[in-house]
Subunit: 233 residues, 2 copies
């Protein structure tokens, strides 16, 4: 390999697990916090806020977890179906499929005899030929078969952990006002810290990341509070 920068440090690609954690935690922190804050304005009793909050966390955990599971399963099914189709087409319409390989390479400047020979080299092995079409024509990457269940558990678990942070003051304290204040403080710290870490992991400015997640949480709570005040009681 010719000299160059170390390959590992060059590009960041968020792993699927990090993405799942981010999705689950962000929504888990934001929505239960906003719901509890809105209900603090509309009703007085902490036990009811806790009931609504826990019900929301349970519903969100199952909906997002199962949703993530089915999305990952659908991706895997879709990949297999398209792969079978490409394999069949490479048998039924080999000239058409070779033409498509040529069209892709042509777009990047390969021409003439070199193009013809490169296409023949790729099409000389059916597995590689279909691999090429899957990646470069359809832009589909083979999904990890174990991903569906892991994705469900990660998103659902992150949602529960995230949701219990804003709800814990309502569980532990008797009065709604102080519980709301502590919940705001806990959630603000958690959102800012989470945004900071997420930005660092994806190579973006950490302060901007912290302010963005804080902004989303604040905006969601403010809108929920206004809606609950306008329609409630």
């Amino acid at each position: 390999m010719p000299p160059g920068p170390p390959h590992e440090e060059r590009h960041f690609a968020a792993s699927a697990t990090v993405r799942d954690l981010v999705i689950g935690t962000a929504d888990g922190l934001t929505v239960p916090f906003a719901l509890a804050a809105a209900l603090s304005g509309a009703v007085a009793a902490n036990p009811l806020i806790v009931t609504a909050g826990l019900a929301e966390i349970a519903a969100g955990c199952v909906a997002m977890g199962l949703g993530g599971y089915l999305a990952a399963r659908t991706d895997a099914d879709h990949y297999q179906a398209e792969r079978r189709r490409e394999e069949e087409e490479s048998r039924l319409y080999p000239e058409r499929e070779k033409w498509e390989v040529a069209a892709i390479l042509h777009r990047y400047g390969v021409r003439g005899e070199v193009l013809r020979q490169a296409v023949e080299a790729i099409a000389s092995d059916r597995r590689r030929w279909v691999d090429f079409m899957m990646r470069f024509e359809l832009e589909l990457v083979e999904p990890d078969p174990h991903r569906a269940a892991r994705s469900a558990a990660t998103i659902g678990g992150a949602y529960v952990v995230g949701g219990l942070i804003p709800l814990s003051p309502y569980i532990l304290m008797a009065e709604t006002g102080p519980a709301l204040a502590v919940s705001c403080a806990f959630t603000a710290v958690a959102l800012a810290g989470f945004g900071w870490l997420k930005a660092r992991a994806t190579g973006l400015p950490p302060l901007r990341g912290a302010l963005q997640t804080l902004g989303i949480g604040g905006a969601a709570a403010a809108v929920a509070f206004l809606v609950a005040s306008a329609f409630g009681g």
Copy 2:
């Protein structure tokens, strides 16, 4: 082009807008329905269920909409940053970058003199060269600059529309029991219809799609109901 099946009918790729609609509607139908059902078991009064439900819809709409906006913005920033990096590297380490192009084509069976000439053809135009690396090394597709705002509006709007379906009986009816029954019926029809349409759009079996979304909604409501019964009151 050699003869083959009509290209348009061959492969389905969900447009970004369809994906946004699916994400917003699925969560919007499921979570407010489950929350309202759980609160129906724990508390008696419809006005409070409506307040909590509307607050949840508002919070979920803002959290998912803004979350979608920032995710799309982050994708666009990430693409531009990686593109600048690839351009710089093609200047600083041209041999390394050519080696990487060769490694990709080699994986698909291109060898020897044809490989060398194909790499030179791709590297002869810096724009195409960087395009090739972005697509085939980093697997990044240039994001649509207008997508962020549209994505936010689509996800948020779909969440509100989805959420108002299970909540409408509680708004329009006085008694909790009948409202819960009507809400179950409305939501079941909406979830099954939505799953059916989603499966048809993605080319999967429609009946399985309908049963899956129905299952997610039912499971989320059941778990939320159990949690609210266990901890509430």
